[in-house]
Structures are given as structure tokens and as C-alpha cells.
């Protein structure tokens, strides 16, 4: 055990001095540290023993930003009180325990290891967490709540927000969390509001409950709040947040909007009647641009029109079936006596 005081006779050790001191002690074989810090950054994270079988332990008081940032497997860090921003940034395997609150972007980009926070965490916490399947899945436990915009762009891993001591909060995830989230799971107890549209909130299944039950025991022991176990394991109060496969939210169809909410009978209802049916191109009946008209006087009964009509729309008596005729004009073109005349369909929509 190595005790380090960072404030001596009013002289504060710089971050660089402290981190280099820690590394030299590790190189000399030391693996356990108790550090009374004075806001120095990055403590415990990027320190490592050449003998990778040697685990490192840190007990910290009053550290600065980025406690355990870039932490490695085999490192465990315990912070007695609260910490500022970026705790566990880029955590790659360390166990980081903070008994109090942790600032903004806690667990940002954590890809492995465990982060246990015994209080609240700030804005954008858990953002960009990810999981490389060759390594242990990252876990990020928070006793109380997160700030806004947390879990943005999360790609993997598990986050657990226990919602303890959050009475009166509108949402235990703040405002608009989970924007751009594409993977991973967030378990949350309590109210969640105004969350990004790319995720959905669902109820827990048996596996989720099993995970939380065992994990909760461990978490509460780590932060020294084992007495809360029963209160936090009423799983009816929990939900799970994951990305939706199809990000597109269902919205009311225009047809439904037009039928249910739009002006009854349409804007032009007092002038015209429109059923809004859609004609196909080269359609029959009223969809035709022009109609054939037969002149009995000129017809010599040669039947060329009847035989050549592509729609078989002309009967033996030269009656046109309007439901078949598309108004192509072939009858008119072929008739040797001009008995068929094509007439423009200039009908307007009327009442």
C-alpha cells in the first residue's frame, strides 16, 4: 500500500507529477494506492503494470476529471465522495466505483469493465458506450438519475439507472436522451419522458429480471447501500430501452386524415363531387381522353373494327363496352368508311 498526499505545505502536485509518480511506484512493484488528491486528472486509468497478472487498486479522495479514464482490465478504483466529469471515459476493463455523484459524460465511450455510481450522473452520460464482442460487455450502474442527452449514439453495453431518490423529477433520464442510439440496453426504474424517437421502451422479460437481480446485489454492495435491495427490485417499476429496428415512427395516413379530420366532402364540395378514386393511365370508361362514336349510316358491316379492337370492346352490333374501351382509336383508323369518329372527352368534374 502506497499513500500519496498531493498537497504538501501548500504545494499542489501537478497531474503530470502525480501520474508519473504513480507509474514509477508501479514499476517498482507497488499495486495498491491510497491517494488524497487535489483535483488531479486521469487518476488510475492509464496506469498499468508490466506484469499483466498484477492487479492495481486505487482508493481516491477528491480526484479531478476523468477518474479511471482509459482504465484497463485488472484495475479497480474506489472514490470515497463525488467526482467531476468524464469518469470512466474510454473505460476498457477497469472497475470504477464512485460512492457519490459523478459529473457530465460519465462512462462516455466505455467499451468494457464496470462503472458503479452511488449518486447522480451528469449530462451525456453513457454516450457512445459500445461493446466489442471479444471483450466483457461494459456495465454502467447509476443509483439515481442521469442528466439530459444521456446515452446518445450508444452502440452497445448495458446501462442501469435505478431512479432512487428521484421524486419530483419529470424524467430520470433528463430530456431527449438516447438520440442516435443504435445498440445496447438501458434498464431504467421510474419515469422517462421526451426520449429520442429511435428507441422504444418495453417491459422486462425473465432474463432481464435475472440479470438485474444478481447485478443489483453486487452494485449495492460496491457502493455500500445494500439496504436498498428490496426497494430497487420491484421489477414492475422497471423498463428496458432499446433501439427500434425500423426507426420510422408510424404516422396517420393521409387517407385517414382526409377522411376523418379534413373538411367533409372536400374543399370543393359545394361545387363538385369527387370520390378521389384514381384513374389508371390509358384507363377505360370516364378515364378515356376520347370516346369512339359509331355512325350507323356509314357502316358497311365489314367487322374490321370488331376483329381488331385490342380490348375486344366492340360487340357484333357495334356497341362499345365502355368498361373495356380505352379510347385508342384503332377502330376509327381501320374503318374503311369512317364510321367511327373519336370524340374528345372534355367532361369536367361536376356535382
Amino acid at each position: 500500500m502506497e499513500r500519496i498526499e498531493t498537497l504538501n505545505n501548500g504545494n499542489r502536485m501537478s497531474t503530470q507529477e502525480l501520474l508519473q509518480l504513480i507509474q514509477s511506484k508501479i514499476d517498482a512493484g507497488c499495486t495498491e494506492f491510497e491517494i488524497n488528491a487535489c483535483g488531479q486528472h486521469n487518476i488510475g486509468g492509464s496506469s498499468w503494470a508490466k506484469d499483466r497478472n498484477k492487479d492495481l487498486k486505487f482508493l481516491l479522495r477528491n480526484p479531478g476529471q476523468r477518474v479511471g479514464a482509459m482504465g484497463m482490465k485488472g484495475t479497480s478504483i474506489l472514490v470515497e465522495g463525488s467526482v467531476p466529469a468524464d469518469t470512466g471515459w474510454l473505460n476498457s476493463g477497469a472497475e470504477i466505483i464512485v460512492k457519490g455523484d459523478s459529473g457530465d459524460t460519465t462512462a462516455h465511450c466505455a467499451a468494457s469493465g464496470e462503472i458503479y455510481i452511488g449518486g447522480r450522473v451528469g449530462t451525456r452520460s453513457g454516450a457512445l458506450m459500445k461493446h466489442d464482442p471479444k471483450f466483457k460487455i461494459p456495465e454502467f450502474w447509476v443509483l439515481k438519475n442521469t442528466g439530459s442527452f444521456s446515452f446518445e449514439f450508444m452502440g452497445g453495453g448495458i446501462a442501469i439507472v435505478c431512479g432512487y431518490d428521484c421524486d419530483g423529477l419529470k424524467s430520470v433520464l433528463g430530456e431527449r436522451s438516447c438520440g442516435g442510439m443504435v445498440g445496447g440496453t438501458i434498464y431504467v426504474r421510474g419515469k422517462v419522458e421526451n426520449i429520442a424517437t429511435c428507441v422504444e421502451i418495453s417491459t422486462l422479460d425473465a432474463n432481464d429480471i435475472e440479470f438485474l437481480r444478481s447485478g443489483m446485489k453486487r452494485f449495492l454492495e460496491k457502493i455500500g447501500r445494500a439496504e436498498l435491495y428490496n426497494e430497487l427490485t420491484n421489477f414492475k417499476e422497471w423498463h428496458k430501452i432499446q433501439t427500434v429496428a425500423a426507426a420510422k415512427k408510424e404516422r396517420m395516413s393521409i387517407a385517414e386524415f382526409r377522411e376523418k379530420e379534413w373538411i367533409a366532402g372536400g374543399i370543393f364540395g359545394d361545387f363538385i363531387t369527387d370520390d378521389y378514386a384514381v384513374y389508371e393511365l390509358a384507363g377505360t370508361g370516364d378515364a378515356r381522353c376520347r370516346f369512339p362514336e359509331w355512325n350507323k349510316e356509314l357502316c358497311i358491316g365489314c367487322d374490321i373494327c370488331v376483329k381488331n379492337c385490342p380490348q375486344k370492346a366492340i360487340s357484333e352490333n357495334y356497341v362499345v363496352d365502355d368498361e373495356k374501351c380505352i379510347g385508342c382509336g384503332i377502330c376509327s383508323a381501320l374503318c374503311p368508311r369512317q364510321a367511327w369518329k373519336m370524340v374528345e372527352n372534355n367532361k369536367e368534374i361536376t356535382k
Binding site: S253, I272, L281, A333, E348, I349
Partner: protein, 542 residues
Amino acid sequence: MAAVKVNELHKEDLPWIIEYDESKCIQCGKCTAVCSFGAISPCVEMRKKSGNINEKNQYEKVLVVKQNVGFENHCVGCGMCANVCPNGAIKAVRNLDDRYAIRYRAEKGESLKRGGRSNLNTEGRTLDKIKIGRISQMTDPSLDPVRHTFEIRAPFGRVLSADKLGFDVSGNQIIQTKSLPPNRWIYPIIFGDMSIGAISSRMWEAIAIATAYLNEKMGIPIRMGTGEGGIPVNLLKSRYLKYMILQIASGHFGWNRIIETMPEMVEDPAGILIKIGQGAKPGDGGLLMANKVSQYVQEIRGVPKADLMSPPTHQGLYSIEESVQKMFLSMNAAFNFRVPVAIKVAASVTSVSVYNNLLRDPYNIVGGFFIDGFAGGTGAAHEISLNHTGHPITSKVRDCYLAAVHQGRQGEIPLFAGGGLGQTGSFAADAFKLICLGANGVFTGRLLLQIAGCCGNDTEKCNACSTGNCPAGLTSQKACLTKRLDIDKVAENLVNFIVATDMELKKLMGPVGCSTLPVGRSDALITVDRHIAQRLDIQYSI
């Protein structure tokens, strides 16, 4: 066989030639049936039989598709025949040697009329030569559209400077001593000004439905300019009136019904737009050809079936001051000074003078200045106007904005810009660049038709909006064509397009680091063209 003479219209004169492959044709008749112009017909051709020339009956009759040659029924290249042909046996091909325009004028003694936009794009588009070059990189964070709240809003209505607001302190309270001019914060895109009659009943209603849907289901407070072709009473009486900007142009069509319905209105309209002119045909009034003046258009406009040519100016107006006095005051009074009133003019070398005059606005009743550029669209205009008159929008917006800046009065009368926006693909980029140059918002009409399925373009394809034969049912009042249009699909496409545009606007605001519209932030723009840089006072970059 009929004799052929030089001084007739020939197939080779036409702008489009039908290419027909008889070997692929199955004579199903769909191409001739679908052609709303009657530009092609089935026809019997006499062919010489191959083989023995001594045979008695040397000829045979063959059924083919023939291109018609005529001023009223020539092919406009819409491409519907190719769309319906099951075998790819027919298509319209541009005739590079066409002589149609000359023949038409020589034959008819009339100016050529058509719809669409200018087909003469001799200079290239200025907006395409401008890029958004001021990117937040370490100076300040780029904003993330997913996380940030973007206030994409434009003021519509007169904005007073702080010293004119008319507030006073009474005891511990701030009291209002003067009434404020009406002002609405709306989406910076306005669906622009296509009149009933100019477009089909379904197209007009589809835009109205999309407007209502965007407001009520998507939270996008977009407004629709009605154009001046009358407004159906059903709409005037509905709660959706609040999304409509009513237009009064020189024809004053349909205002009797609007006035008559006022006591029954449950909502005020979003605004009133006084149309002085439009970019597609500046100095010219509205034009609606008789074949589009259907029964209901006649009723709603109070006119017979005739070519409707609105006067080029409001008959009672002779000066800017008078227009402020008469039109602005009357239109403000119409809704008891609750509804903002704006004015729309064609961009012109004189735009700045007009804007400067309006800025004096002693009555605080001028609620917006809409400038419509050269490349704006129309349902009908003389081609000479479309191709040769007008002023590009970009420099004019800039000039007006800077004129206001020089008086310290920018933003007091909101500027809206339109005319050819989205012409080369990106509406959001065009809108954003104009906003950076000083516009508060933009408006668009022609683009809506393209979203809805228009088969024309700005290089002389189709452009037959004025004929009443629109093959897509967008600008026709014939039932057989109007009913080709799927009103729900059109409204849905408009909604989707605006939702996409909204995201794209954020994708431009984010990198610049703005969560509100960067009106006049020309420092965000760069150009590789020195003349553009100099003229618009933006950074020249190479």
C-alpha cells in the same frame, strides 16, 4: 395521297419527334389512348408488298402509330406514351432542328404561350456556385440535429424596433400603451400562390391537406399561399383557414365570397398577400386560358368561360405610397388589424427602391416583402416573358437586406424569396443560402408540382400547363386528367418532402453552429466565383 407544300407545318418542324418501332408494337392502343394532347393516332399505312412486282395487288395495309402534325395537337415530349407502352416501342425524342416557335408566330400572329419556368438558362445558377463554407470546427461546436432544438421559424408580419414597441412601466408592472402589429412565427417555407383554376381541384386540395397535416401531425407550422383564383367557402369556414395566406392580385377574383364569409369564419387567415407581380412574367397579370376555366372556376371567380387576362397592375394603384395607403390599409382593416399583410413583387432592378419606401411604413402595416425571381414558374405566360424578362432572385434579396441594414432596420419587414428554388435538386440548400443572404424565409410553387408528378422540366419538356391537357392531372380541369392524380399520394409526397427538407435545413444549420435561422449571416457563405463574391459581398474562396 395529299399534296405536300413547303408552307405548311411539317413533322420536322415540331419540337419533339415520335420514335416508333413497329417491330416491337403489339397494337394494344395504350399510347394513343393515354396521349392527352392527341399528338399520336393509330393510322393505316399503305406498304408495297415485297416480291413479284407483276402481281396485281402490290399494296397492303398496315396499322401503325403516327405522329400528328398540328399547332393544337403536337407532341410536347411529356413521355406518357413511353410510360404505358409494354414493349418500349414508342418514345418522344427532342428535335434539335425544330422550327416550331417561328412557325407558330408566323402562322398565328400571336405570341407563344406556355407554362413552366424559363427555358433559357444562359448563365448557370448563382445559388449552385455558393457553398456553406463557415463550418464550426473548434471555434464553436457543430450542432447535432438529433440533440439540439432548432428554431426554424420566420416572422410573418411587421416587426417593430424596441423603441417603438409602446411599453411603459406602471407601478411594478410593464404595461402596453400601443397595440402591436400582428406577427406570426411560421415555418420559413411557404407553399406558394398557385390559384384555383391554374391547378386542378385535386392538386390544390392536396397542397391544402399537406399544409394541414404538416401543422397538425408533424409540428411544422407551414403556410399555404392561396393564389388569386377565389377560395371555396368550405375552406373559408373551416378551422384550416388559419394556415392559409389569402391572396389579392390585380384580378381581385373571389374576394366577394371571402368578404361575404367573414362573419362565419371561425379562424383568421394566416395572412394576406397583395400580389403586384410574379417572377415568371413580371409586368404581366395573371393568365388563365379558357379551356381551364371550368364550371366551378367560372362560379368561384365570377366570370364566363373565356381567356382570363388579369391586368398587369392593380387598376387603382399608381404609386408605392398609394399602395401602402390603399391596399395595405384596407387589407389590414379587413380583419381589424389582426392579420399580417405582405406584398409580393417580381424581382427587379427597382426592388430596393420599393423596399426602402415600404420600410418607412408610418402606419406599421407592412408585414412582409416577397420577391419572386426570374426563374419562378407559372401556369401560363407568354414565352417572351418567361425567357426574357425578370431579375434573378439572389442579388436582389441581398440588396434589399443590405439596404435595410444600412438603415439599421433589417428584420422590420420580413423578406421572403422565391423563384426557381429547388430547380437543381436541393431546395433546402437554396433556401438556406438565401436566408444567409438576408431572406427570412422562402416560397415555392413550381417545385410542388414536380413533387406531385409533373413530367416537364426547364429544358422545354412538356410545359403545357396552359393548355388544360396536363397529362399528370396537375394543371387540368378535365375530369379524365384531374382524376389521374392520387390526392393522398400527392399530399403524402409533399409532407415527406418538407420533413426531408426540415432535416436537411438542420444539416446545414448544425455545421454553421446555428440553432435559429442565420438570417443575413453571409459569413457562412463562400464562392469560387469572383464576380459573385464581389456582388454579394461574400468570401471569395479558391
